[in-house]
């Protein structure tokens, strides 16, 4: 086993374990913290794929900003474990079945996708995740989508400010 394989299995195990913990934690604050662990594990995968820029941006945006806001809201809402509404058992069973079906569809779609058949991940060699090549690709080939998405972000921010503003 190479060192990369060891890291891959460790990180995958960590990601799946903490993703399950997000779901089964009774305390919402614990769920948020486990979700942060998931983001760390995924960033570790990015580093294994030689995408350092994506790894650190994933951390800055998700773990550093979005999760802080999640924590903010959850801490101020003061949720308790006993305030958790009891769900119908049948609802749970139906949820499990549909979730499992969705997973099957997704897995089969990904496995048979043209982009993935007979391909393997580029470990330590690919350069698209590095800041230089990513920047060149973004600002040459995908300039219009990039600018459009920034306008979308801006309008979302303006919308949030307008909604949040007290009259």
């Amino acid at each position: 086993m190479s060192i990369i394989e060891i890291f891959f299995w460790l990180l995958s195990g960590l990601a799946i374990f903490s993703a399950i913990m997000v779901l089964i934690s009774k305390n919402p604050v614990h769920s948020v913290l486990w979700l942060i662990v998931v983001f760390f594990a995924i960033s570790g995968h990015y580093i294994l794929l030689n995408a350092q820029f994506l790894a650190i941006v994933n951390l800055i945006v998700y773990a550093g900003a979005i999760m802080v806001l999640f924590l903010f809201v959850i801490m101020l809402m003061n949720l308790n474990a006993d305030a958790d509404p009891q769900k119908n058992v049948w609802l749970k069973v139906i949820g499990i079945v549909t979730g499992g079906l969705l997973l099957t569809v997704l897995v089969s779609a990904v496995r048979s996708s043209n982009d993935l058949v007979n391909r393997s991940a580029e470990l330590k060699t690919g350069s698209i995740g590095l800041i230089k090549s990513l920047g060149i690709t973004l600002f040459n080939e995908y300039t219009v989508p990039f600018e459009l998405s920034s306008i979308l972000f801006l309008s979302a921010m303006v919308g949030a400010v307008v909604i949040g503003k007290k009259e």
């Binding site: 604050v29 942060i36 350092q52 820029f53 800055i60 550093g64 802080v68 903010f72 101020l76 800041i131």
Partner: protein, 349 residues
């Protein structure tokens, strides 16, 4: 022996581990003596003598303080969330220490077996790494404040988090305009460009000012120490903490101060560059040691300025803090970014 069979450069790994151990212990010792310096500077500014009992000039005062903290009774409130209560100070300490991984402390040493770089990891996104770790620093405060199950702690944690998030924006934009000038995100490259040339402070004076103010806010130093405003929140987010867990919170503030001084020296003041001295012709070991001394001298100046500001200025009110961050620094940083970008573009044409 499967571990040994791995295809690894064990000498390299061992060297890095030793370097990490040295850097962490040095940061801890420096943070310890920062507390001493803080009290001495405060005393000097207020025309007092300051600590002078333990050892000559009170030089062992930090050791006495540390021992005191260790021997204090450790109290975990009954209604607190025990695990998170302990996790809070650990996270604060860890994020404070993590930043030093990408800092180039000096030029490479050489003992005849090839160069030994005095930097744990030279990654090509060094600045972003620092920015990422800084943005994680808020968790220590938030988790500690919430887990204490105390209204004052929670309010202080919320204040701290919103303050850090607000000032991160202006700081990030100040860094972007610096990157326009350097063209590289690796701290080693940024220092390399400044050695023998003009320091970045000449190109980015406004960017440095913004960065400095934001660094004060990110370290929760006065006049931005709203998370621990004792007059309105008792002690803020670490009110319920005692013993060494309190010590960790206090300590992480001093480590943050040290690391942010190092980063400011590295980004804007040439890092380990010695002004008007050409180190390229010297013995590499001598150059490395002198470079380290130069970096530390710059750092001490910054730390002194941090303390000077703390003991001279009163604390902001909360709305003033938010106004300064969002209506003052952020537009200023944006203007600085646009102007820098325009000038860089114009000069390259």
């Amino acid at each position: 022996m499967t571990l040994l069979a791995l295809n690894l450069d064990w000498a390299y790994l061992l060297g890095k581990l030793i370097l990490i151990a040295i850097i962490i212990s040095v940061s801890l010792v420096i943070a310890m003596y920062e507390t001493y310096l803080e009290r001495k500077v405060a005393a000097w500014l207020q025309d007092r003598i300051g600590p002078n009992r333990a050892g000559p000039f009170g030089i062992f005062q930090p050791l006495a303080d540390g021992a005191k903290l260790f021997f204090k009774e450790e109290i975990i409130p009954n209604s607190s969330n025990k695990f998170l209560f302990i996790l809070g100070p650990c996270l604060a300490m860890m994020t404070a220490m993590m930043t030093c991984a990408v800092i180039p402390w000096s030029s490479s040493l050489d003992f005849g077996h090839g160069p030994i770089p005095l930097q744990i990891a030279d990654i090509n996104i060094g600045i972003l790494y620092i920015f990422g770790v800084v943005s994680l620093g808020v968790y220590g405060i938030m988790i500690g404040g919430w887990a204490s199950n105390n209204k004052f702690s929670l309010l202080a944690a919320m204040r701290g988090a919103s303050q850090v998030i607000s000032y991160e924006l202006a700081m990030g934009i100040a860094i972007i305009s610096l990157i326009f000038v350097t063209g590289s995100l690796s701290l080693k490259d940024i220092v390399g460009q400044q050695i023998g040339h003009t320091w970045n402070i000449v190109y980015q004076p406004l960017g440095f000012l913004i960065f400095f103010i934001c660094a004060l806010a990110e370290c929760n130093r006065a006049p931005f120490d709203l998370p621990e405003a004792e007059s309105e929140l008792n002690m803020g987010y670490h009110q319920e903490y005692s013993s060494m867990k309190l010590g960790f919170y206090l300590f992480s503030e001093y480590i943050n101060m040290f690391i942010s001084s190092v980063i400011m020296a590295t980004l804007f003041f040439g890092g380990y560059d010695i002004p008007f001295v050409n180190t390229a012709t010297m013995n590499p070991n001598l150059a490395a040691v002198l470079g380290l001394i130069a970096l530390m001298a710059k750092v001490v100046v910054f730390i002194f300025v941090f303390m000077w500001i703390r003991w001279s200025l009163p604390r902001f009110r909360y709305d003033q803090l938010m106004n300064l961050g969002w209506k003052g620094l952020l537009p200023l940083a944006l203007v600085n970014m646009v102007v820098t970008g325009g000038v860089v573009l114009w000069l390259h044409k």
